[in-house]
Symmetry: D2
Subunit: 261 residues, 4 copies
Amino acid sequence: MTAKRIDLNSDVGESFGVWRRGNDEALMPSLTSASIACGWHGGDPQVMRRTVRLAKAHGVRVGAHPGFPDLLGFGRRPMQLSPGEARDYLLYQIGALWAFIKAEGMRLQHVKPHGALYHMAASDRLLSEAIAGAIAEVDPTLILVGPPGSALLSAGQGAGLRTAQEGFGDRTYNEDGSLVSRSVPGALLTDPDALVDQVLLMIEGKVRAITGRMIPIAVDTVCLHGDTPDAPAFATRLRERLALAGVEAVSLEELLVDQVS
Amino acid sequence: MTAKRIDLNSDVGESFGVWRRGNDEALMPSLTSASIACGWHGGDPQVMRRTVRLAKAHGVRVGAHPGFPDLLGFGRRPMQLSPGEARDYLLYQIGALWAFIKAEGMRLQHVKPHGALYHMAASDRLLSEAIAGAIAEVDPTLILVGPPGSALLSAGQGAGLRTAQEGFGDRTYNEDGSLVSRSVPGALLTDPDALVDQVLLMIEGKVRAITGRMIPIAVDTVCLHGDTPDAPAFATRLRERLALAGVEAVSLEELLVDQVS
Amino acid sequence: MTAKRIDLNSDVGESFGVWRRGNDEALMPSLTSASIACGWHGGDPQVMRRTVRLAKAHGVRVGAHPGFPDLLGFGRRPMQLSPGEARDYLLYQIGALWAFIKAEGMRLQHVKPHGALYHMAASDRLLSEAIAGAIAEVDPTLILVGPPGSALLSAGQGAGLRTAQEGFGDRTYNEDGSLVSRSVPGALLTDPDALVDQVLLMIEGKVRAITGRMIPIAVDTVCLHGDTPDAPAFATRLRERLALAGVEAVSLEELLVDQVS
Amino acid sequence: MTAKRIDLNSDVGESFGVWRRGNDEALMPSLTSASIACGWHGGDPQVMRRTVRLAKAHGVRVGAHPGFPDLLGFGRRPMQLSPGEARDYLLYQIGALWAFIKAEGMRLQHVKPHGALYHMAASDRLLSEAIAGAIAEVDPTLILVGPPGSALLSAGQGAGLRTAQEGFGDRTYNEDGSLVSRSVPGALLTDPDALVDQVLLMIEGKVRAITGRMIPIAVDTVCLHGDTPDAPAFATRLRERLALAGVEAVSLEELLVDQVS
């Protein structure tokens, strides 16, 4: 019998200049993978350096978290890019982060698009192919993280990349497996125990949709949001409950080691 | 007897978005090395891609041309950065360009700071050490390009990098080997033949200072400016005169192959 | 019998930093109104100053040409803004230009959204109301320029603004009065005489659609594009042909003097 | 006998996009003047709107707080601008803020340069004249805020502006009246009572230099920093102590009503 395993990732390195965001120091010890902003929607070179070092100090694997060229909107506003623009914007950001990872003697593990880019790519085939193409160009051994069943992960597989399906512990789902829009009441789970329960269900391959019906979902990694004051406490608690349930938290690299790249 | 050899470099990829600058297509065939802007003072991801491809098509070796975070001022205005800021800004830009070079199957050859960063580093030891340190962190086999006898090249040597001394065919020199400030009358050579003559002198290890006195100068690479309408014609003429004079134009990598890195 | 009158406007001041765009100096003498970029999609403070002075020197009335916060994409890429964001982004840009107009002793005449903002507002009621609301807040005597029959001009009228209907001499129209997409063959008129003929037709209140059918169109101002090398020559010729046809070129302010604001 | 009066100002509106900075809501009730960031070193259009409204709600007079084009460095890094650049950058930012003030039915009271621009202007005559010139161009009734005895205030007087001398309650002074550099131990006063004492001394026209010697200083306005967690509590306390000491807190406009503009 195989032990149950899951990757725990978070979007980190989102501070910019004098402005702080998130609490990466407190959250990092609970993670197995960290997705680091690359300076376009958040992050800057000094924040990138600090965040890579912090991940290294805690043995956390790192990935690039590229976004739209929209610092003012934190990359959360849909923008219409051509596939060529998207491809080159991804390359630029992945490369920029790569330099810090190289300087700190680490290896890049994965790429996870940020914000509106992530959500648009979930259903946009051309955009997804551009993203996957950029990743394959720079390093075909990288893992592409995206929503289960998305155009993004299909494009990743089409480009020969390993892919990881991401679930959200604090978001509710529609019956078709998509996320309930943030504007809908009940879209966000705020009770810590409910979050942990949802993560444990996801590891079993299922989640209770907002309608109450249990639906199947396949999840390799669970995203922990770091931008709430109690995120670190929640993450600690999640790690404890996972341990009690016999679930091992491992990096994507370890989890997908057998996936053909 | 060794054949005389020189590298011919130019700053390219300085267009941004809808705005064009320079005439890279016409200039590239005359170069042996190209220094590509990295999106901070000029250039953008799509321009970087195009420029790397253009260099590849002409067999021209490529380097990173990082600058200050000052698009509005084209990186030409002195800014006071801490060494830590400078180091991380360099890493970011080198990494961003690296991704395009990797995607196009090329290898990065050199790094040459741009504009005010280049000129400040010429005499600022702390800034130069930050620049050299960033390059050594990302790839210690890279070549650092700077002014002959500068703090920048000393720092490069101190960091174990190979270094290349750069001369300017179209700028006049003071007796101490420094460039005459652009604000001084006679700072710029505009007669094409005078430029070619100066380059040929530099290859012989000397240059006539603005005072008229001949001074020694050691030059591995000559910078051709591409932002004048007649730059491509001049570059073609220079290549012809170099050939007639028995001077071989080779990339920095070929030129410095014997330099201990 | 009333003389026929038309305003001739162009988008100017689109240079940025060291990068030049358009040929404002040559075009300005042919204009009666100038729409000046405000630094977000193009333009910068020094370009704004120069352009305001240039308009003043030629007796050309000036307006603000605000766009999306997307310098890299020249404001041509659709972005999804909330009405509150759009309103405040407009205010910011109008105010910035206002300062230069005030410094040069002129008065702001109109506001014309740029690029994707203009095209999205043509059919987006909420976005148009945000734009019109911003203009009314800063100065309710300003004229809002937009496409004939658009949501933008309706919103302007709803906010109590004077509005001006804009035609394009060099773009072809669909039968419903909308512009043929640039991606469709025949979308752009390139023959100078065909352009002039279309402008003269527009002044008569009609235009030949791409299908060949003549359709009605009401136009207060015709937009001359300045980003082609022959734009100034074309503009001069247009002014001559207008004069021959007894059409007077006047600013929007003169044209709309009787419109209730 | 005239009642003692002082203006209390703070730099506000320094949040940007999703990033918060300072606690303007808590601090505003204690202020008589607010200097609002204009989007270049901090602030954005929505933050500017919110901040203007907040000031209005508390009856606080507003001024522009323009800075260098350096969001990444929060305008704190010296940059070398030409006088023409400085003048146009000031105009742009003042105009942008003006639009929000106009929209909210307020009037702009003052201009206070930010960060490195403020400190460089203190001793740089050309830069100061550029700043003062921009303000005079846009509205000669505005008040220019700067360090006592600085080149900045001299330039303001030369341009016919009213000027206000600013003291810092939480910074120590050298014997020549300049601020002790932040890098020197003892540069910052952190004890709330010591701060209040220094402000009360300043109102009396003197301050104890870091050497211990009492020196004369003339102060119209005292700057309260809002970027520390306890800033609002300190501000409240200061207002109470001022009231006890019979000092009236009034806006710069009220304070300087008799100064010839």
